[in-house]
Symmetry: D2
Subunit: 353 residues, 4 copies
């Protein structure tokens, strides 16, 4: 077995030293609890500067909490949340959005590599029966940026979808569990990819990109903040020593660290993609834009990779005979790791041919 | 202003170096997410050894989540949770137990210094209408150990209350946000204070006693674990990098650290109590058994303490004219801090006389 | 056993012929479903005329649904509903308010014969921690008119309580399961007893006073109607053949029928109260203002009544040794029934003496 | 406009005289509330006889309540309910199943004329991730009998689907809003179409087939009854004068009335289908097995029918350019009404040609 070829997910990553240091520093002294500490108090100014508009920030410790609380702030119990079929809010939260909204529905919309097809969203909304009491009511559009297949929506693509949402009275949530990878990949500003493109609330992820456990719900529609404060508390996400999460977020966005970390992950993904494209029988199932690679391979190669100790997920995960695999690079993925994987795949492909 | 006389709460404390080190160590390397890592996997054996019985452990990041999920594991939506009137589950969770159970009721029972009066519990259950479809149904007893007034239930006191609960078919939860302080104070074993005394699920707190943000739901009634796993996930408490919480819990219970930290806090509380008892006009409102002191003082002294920069809460917090204050000592409370407070109080009392 | 001395509750009553006739008439023909029928469409004009202001009306089939949906329209999931300790919303709905609000709390307030003590409400609100994220937030005052002990709030008494509510930002609900008995008893207009006295939403009961199964949520704060329509549907209270409920409500309020029926019940209660006052050893536990009598009697008399076949409830119901009983008169209670009960009580009291 | 050609739905129907008489009879006298009356008490024996096994019966007033409470009795908050895409539980309850389960998901499965495709159910379950904490868990299969397109599952078809459900640990619910039409159509016994075919809970509808407002949740899996009693109460479906619903249900199943009424509706549907098949340009979109006809027609004919005063729904309802319409016959649909519709369609088709 070749050591260290772990491409399962960026949530297996180590934490970035700058972030660990910030936690250690925060641990040295005592501080006012429940977010009354100086580190937490500086978060909103820092995020407001980063996003070039006044925002409200709610630190949480999981993407599940960020997503479910954010959509709950935007959706009544009788609402419908529209999301790509592969989206986390639809598939991977064990019903957290349904739970935290008090029984809303999540409806999956047709997608291309995770990007919602505008015409499909239009069609769903046209048939949604707005105002009709027998039907759950259109309330929220949730976009994943980058998508579950690692694609980055451009500001124009976002505006097209959020424009449809606005015309039908929907609020807009963005699941940015890997938001840093999107920004680093496309070069557009955080503002351009969010509120300027019509986003009301963002799940701003840090955990997958170098933090220990830190996500922020960033509210652009700040009128929702008063209610969200109570939801946040009663969901068990208001930490008494909130400073330990805030310190991670503060260090993460300071001096562009988050974008440097994301750029490292994205760079390894591009390197890996180029290498795999040269492997006989390999085809990329989607363009590689951020830090996820979806590659279709002969079953023999897939099995060989697993035997060689490469860690990855089949795509879809539930199909044991899948011929596509997902590979994720991290801020701490090493070039040697990538090279070893490419070499292993080439060797296996040669043997299979 | 005298620097550093902070007696607001143990949740303002710094983190213990051993616990910080464990987090830093866990941050160095990558690991399987969602609790599949070695640190998390060792938690259940460690806690099973600590409690001398097989337990299931669910790490969470807040006492709110620990309490609300634990009672939700024990209570149907139409259930009643009985707790002391001052208990956190009744007063301080912004309705988290009601939320996570799906609409159960919390009923406050008469207490003495936070200890539920057995006869009052009996009376409430006798009048509860078990089996009567019009009434929410008795389901759970929640005990706080030590109580909100810092009192430690003895094993016999616990058994008396849990015996009543059993006879009426209730499950038993213990809110042990300061469980370490209770064990350190009374010398009974963790087992004697929990399952041997009839407790089904424990909120085992570490945050107030040296951790950064770590609590564990410890299930003695392990049959409830399968369902709780889903509740835990959908409440946003299943961290992808769970190892950072698990590492805190593992370090906390290793080599008796938790009891050493608690003993420090308890020792400073005893020292402070002795000092305050000697202050003219001061009366302890409750025996000091763990790390909380409730002391009744002339208003002039209370106001003088606030002016001198001593940080504390009035009791009850909502009464601006209260003549009792709550003082909490921490694992990192220094002897000088305690001495300064006593001296300040004595000076003020002398001036007031 | 003396036949027919049934004083258990007005919910055992027969239906009034006028109401039955309206149902029979509605059953003859087909009609647009879900409230699009002419009978339902005339309800809002009729109730608006009755209450002298524009109202929105939501027909439902139980008091539980009326109360729980009405308070859910006024209370967020993190809200507190204040009610008299004996109120149905606190005691008799198996947690329906908690369920339909998504986890709000109901807090019982000190009462005198069911009337909330204003000072106790003030004290509860002063200690409620409005705006404090750790605490469920004051949201709704629920008043029962007449109270659970048959007392009728005057417009001034209502205004005193709703004034406190307003100053603290609470909405006001009135549980009028026996609203007709209150109006018939005190002579004040429906408007004077509701919106003019600060009530936002009324559970307007008909079932206990001659209907088959019909209650109306009457919204004075009509801005809440749009959301309530969805709650009403998803709670299973939007009947496809809504006209069968609407027909009951329409007949009930037409030509003063509801007040005639209530006056009959109230009259029998007064007659019964006068008779019982003359029974040696009997004391009224509360003034008889509507159609409920609470009378304290020697245990021997209470047991004798039960043996004689009189149907009634002990008060409190859960105390098998109670010395107070509750007697309820109905629109169809006969004078002979009342006379027989008085006679039986007198005979038993004489024997007991 | 031709009078009376109302083919919108069977929920516009009049009530059957036998059922109205039973209500009138129940209204004459007083009775024990909350289902303690003799009429309600005879329901379970009557339904147990009808279904040839011991059942528990919960009367409710809407199909929404029947369906949502029944699936809530079978599904945890983190569960998934599988249903045909067109099923009421997925489409027409404004999220009532999500609400009453506490946040479960409803997943639509591929269907043919409303019948779930077994292979599609198998595929969904294979990909469902049973036991995987990140995903809502397979819990319940909900079948509509007859389907939303009026098709009747045979006992073998049911057994095939419930067999799949069993192998995956799912409970089975049947939405029988028109169960009488199914039984009358296929001749199989109520038992053969329910518990003998693997059904645990049935929404047994009467409202669409001659009742005023009456449905019964029939539990074959009687172990779920204790919990359901509390859900039933707190959902506001436990009527104090329950006898008025019970009387409808009792009259409905007495002496085969329900099957006679259903046979009348089915007979008119067959007559109508035969007539429409002879109309040039008309095609039945699904076989006519119960009391619903789906017929594809030239747009000019559809518009002409609407202008002629025929009442019907487009299919799908949300598509204003649909070329298929839904026609529903009722127990009280008259032969003249059917003849008039056929004649109108023929005339319009001739004109359009």
């Amino acid at each position: 077995m070749t050591a260290g070829m772990d491409f399962r997910s960026d949530n297996v990553a180590s934490a970035a030293p700058e972030i660990v240091d910030a936690v250690v520093e925060a641990a040295r002294t005592s501080a006012t609890p429940y977010g009354g500490d100086p580190v937490t108090e500086r978060l909103e100014p820092a995020f407001s500067a980063l996003f070039e508009t006044e925002v409200k920030v709610f630190p949480v410790v999981t993407g599940t909490a960020a997503n479910a609380l954010a959509v709950a702030a935007l959706t009544p119990p009788w609402g419908v949340i529209y999301a790509a079929r592969a989206a986390h809010v639809e598939n991977d939260e064990c019903g957290a959005p349904e739970f935290m909204t008090g029984g809303a529905k999540v409806t999956g919309i047709e997608e291309r590599c995770g990007k919602i097809v505008p015409a499909a969203l239009e069609a769903a909304l046209a048939a949604a029966g707005a105002g009709e009491v027998h039907w759950s009511q259109p309330a929220c559009l949730s976009l994943t940026q980058p998508t579950e297949m690692g694609q980055v929506y451009t500001p124009d693509e976002l505006a097209a979808l959020t424009g449809i949402a606005r015309r039908h009275g929907l609020a807009v949530h963005m699941d940015g569990a890997r938001f840093g990878n999107a920004v680093a990949a496309c070069g557009a500003s955080p503002a351009a990819l969010t509120w300027r493109a019509g986003v009301d609330a963002l799940s701003f992820g840090a955990t997958k990109n170098g933090a220990l456990a830190a996500e922020a719900i960033v509210l652009f529609e700040t009128g929702r903040a008063a209610d969200l404060a109570f939801r946040h508390k009663r969901a068990g996400q208001l930490l008494s020593k909130m400073r330990f999460v805030s310190a991670q977020l503060a260090a993460y966005v300071a001096d562009g660290l988050w974008l440097r970390l994301a750029a490292q992950a994205n760079g390894q993904a591009r390197r890996l993609a180029r290498g795999l494209e040269a492997v006989p029988g390999a085809t990329l199932a989607a363009p590689v834009e951020a830090n996820e690679i979806f590659v279709t391979l002969p079953r023999a190669v897939i099995e060989g990779l697993a035997e060689a100790g490469v860690l990855f997920y089949l795509w879809p995960e539930t199909d044991p005979q899948a011929t596509t695999i997902r590979l994720v690079t991290r801020h701490d993925t090493e070039t040697g790791e990538v090279a070893a994987l490419i070499e292993t795949a080439q060797r296996l492909a040669a043997g299979a041919a």
